[in-house]
Amino acid sequence: MEQYAIEMLHITKRFPGIIANDNITLQLKKGEIHALLGENGAGKSTLMSVLFGLYQPEEGTIKKDGVEVKINNPNDANDLGIGMVHQHFKLVECFTVLDNIILGVEPNKMGFLQKDEARKKVLALSEKYGLRVDPDAKIEDITVGMQQRTEILKMLYRDNEILIFDEPTAVLTPQEISELMQIMKNLSAEGKSILFISHKLAEIMEVADRCTVLRKGKYIGTVNTADVTMEQLSAMMVGRDVNFHVEKKPATPGEVILEIDNMTVASKVHKNNAVKNVSMKVRAGEIVCLAGIDGNGQSEFVYGLSGLEPLVSGSIKLHGKDITKASIRERSTMGISHIPEDRHKHGLVLDYSLEDNMILQTYFGPEFTSKAGFLQRKNIRDYANRLIEEYDVRSGQGPITVSRAMSGGNQQKAIIAREIDKAPDLLIAVQPTRGLDVGAIEFIHKQLVAQRDAGKAVLLVSLELDEVMDVPDRILVMYEGEIVGELDPKTTTQEELGLYMAGAKRDEVKA
């Protein structure tokens, strides 16, 4: 008989209005990397949270090394050697990396912290697995990649044997992803067993030994990745064939919608400016992609453009009208929509219902607010229902679901629905498909192209190389706050793009 590290047998977990896990069985072999695949809202995070003791299943049992165990809370999980990196990280922002790692298991002598010991152990671990971190940096100042490495070190520091990664690659750069893949392989070679959630099939094919597929809370099957193709996997997961390539007609750019002249934006982290003298134009009927490695000023560029941060210098024109000094609200009503980078920080009021989030940008309009200032609940409900239908936003209780209780991908879909439906002249989409399943990505890409074809200007900011190559009509590469190249996706190669992104090549670009 095969020896399993973890067996989750016939797990059922219900939430109000939905069965998130319906009789699911998952068996994790010792030392294997086991992928978990499924559409947004299929129940992956829920299943992993059950294993980590965050939720109690209504039915089913969990066995560790063949022995039935009861996991009532994350402490129990930790005692059993189970660690988890969550889809949305759980680090204390104002603590250092080291403090976060030892939090809860601080080494002490008679109540006094023994940090040196901890530091040694952390540095040794980071050396051994190639997890580069600065132990004394504060979480709020470091990149998501380093935050993630902190989370991984947190698991290793606790000597966990079973490691759960919930969508670890959604927020990473391609470079960081390949590093992470290597780290995972090293860990499994050491005998650690890994559960890995991802929507990116290529990653699953690369690192995972086996893959379990869920669909709408139900168990579909487990396969050896060596025996299947990516197409077969995606068909198993979505229940139909998915077209990975974006179909689109050649663009027919029209008048200039957005004109940016010498924009400079300050940085929050360092003294230099994050965006330096950037000029660009985006025309009606084209998709322009701002590409680059994370942290090269793209976020600040978008903050400056949307009004979240003031400009140091430069000007922005929309339809030829100067909006450099305009408020966020004015920009929005003048026709800018913005799918933000961080859905929890900016995109949603998590404590609001789905319907209340659907009107976050338009609540003050006559459709949703009466002359006397009262919200028109019925209109709001109808509107939310329409968007939920059109964009296939899945949740337990429809429009009245609290957004916090929705799966990450469905939260993202709700934001996209809201911003696109506003019918903007300029759509700023920052990492719009982050955390979406392949079916949803296909749909969103179609929507972006449809916006373009309807004569709107689309500015896409993406770290995803496939997306950068496939979706836009023009690529602008940003490096250290400057535009260093303009490329035509039809003629360029990923290699050339990579050279520009790494700063190894640059042209003089005219706006």
Binding site: E59, I328, R331, S332, H346, G347, L348, Q361, Y363, G373
Partner: protein
Amino acid sequence: MKKVLKNPGMQAFLASLICIIIGLLIGYLVLLIINPEGAWESITNVIKNFFTWSKPKTQLKQFGNTLAKTMPLLMCSLSILFAYKVGLFNIGAAGQYVAGACASLYAALAWGWGWLPCMLFAIVCAGVLGAIVGILKAYCNVNEVISGIMLNWITLYLTNTVLSKVKEAASPYTLYLDDVNPSALLPNAGLNNLFNNNKYITIAVPLALIISIAIHILLSRTRLGYELKATGSNKNAAKYAGMRENTNIILTLIIAGGLAGLGASMLYQTGYMRWECTQSSVPGMGFNGIAAAFLGGLNPIGAIFSSFFIQHITDGGQYVNTNFYSSQISDLISSVIIYLCGFVLFIKLTMNKMLARSEERKLRQLKEAEAAAGKEVDQ
């Protein structure tokens, strides 16, 4: 039964009830420890409050007194909960209440204003105090709790100084409104007759109830409420959505301040109390408002009942038998109960956990029974 328990409204109610019961029990325990002899009588008197009197007519009149004092407390608790919904902890309500008292009394006694201008003046002054906290918070990122507490003291001593100009020569108390300027007394509008001619029952009572309902509607049904709650829940998202978070913070604290100030005017303009110009502590009304807000489940309608209850207990404290206990005991007992009222959220959480656990146990038993039944059939 389970369904009923899972209803959030019901849960809030039960949690409040449990808090009250635990509070009373501990209060009783304290009395027992100090002196077992009079404990039972005293604690029942606290609960009975005006029912301690034997004549129904007197009861009615005393009930009126409690009611008159409930209204300012209700305003303070509305002030707290309104700000709380916007993510602000308005501990400055206590000082805003004092500012309201100062404004309304001074305008009435020194300038001879009528009741309405006095009341409005109280709202404005307290609102200005709220605005100071709001501006500090919005533009200098000063924590509203800290600036609120500091302002509480500043306001207290300022009020003592200002009201000393209109105090009786022989005592530290301000002059009687009835003597100096009866026009500043809130109109009774005949309501006093319902309470055995209790002159402290004024239009403040219906006014306070209407304001509770208005705040409820404002928070749950209007665009402003939507905006304010969004700002409170996620400042970044509010900014992203083009809401002016700074303006919203200031506006919230102005409204919260105004509510507390109105509360003071509702008490001092009935003539029920006079200001003591040598006070060295901030009146507890604003602080009790915190307990009332939480006990009422942070709901403006719930606050009506919780405020009444807390005032009821506080008034009941005066019927503790002082032969057995020192006179401060009444404050001690009511504050123990009020303190426990802050635990509503905790109790609610525990209740939910217990519910989930019992459900799990049931399911497991059911399954075991099924499995056993299955085995029997097999054999």
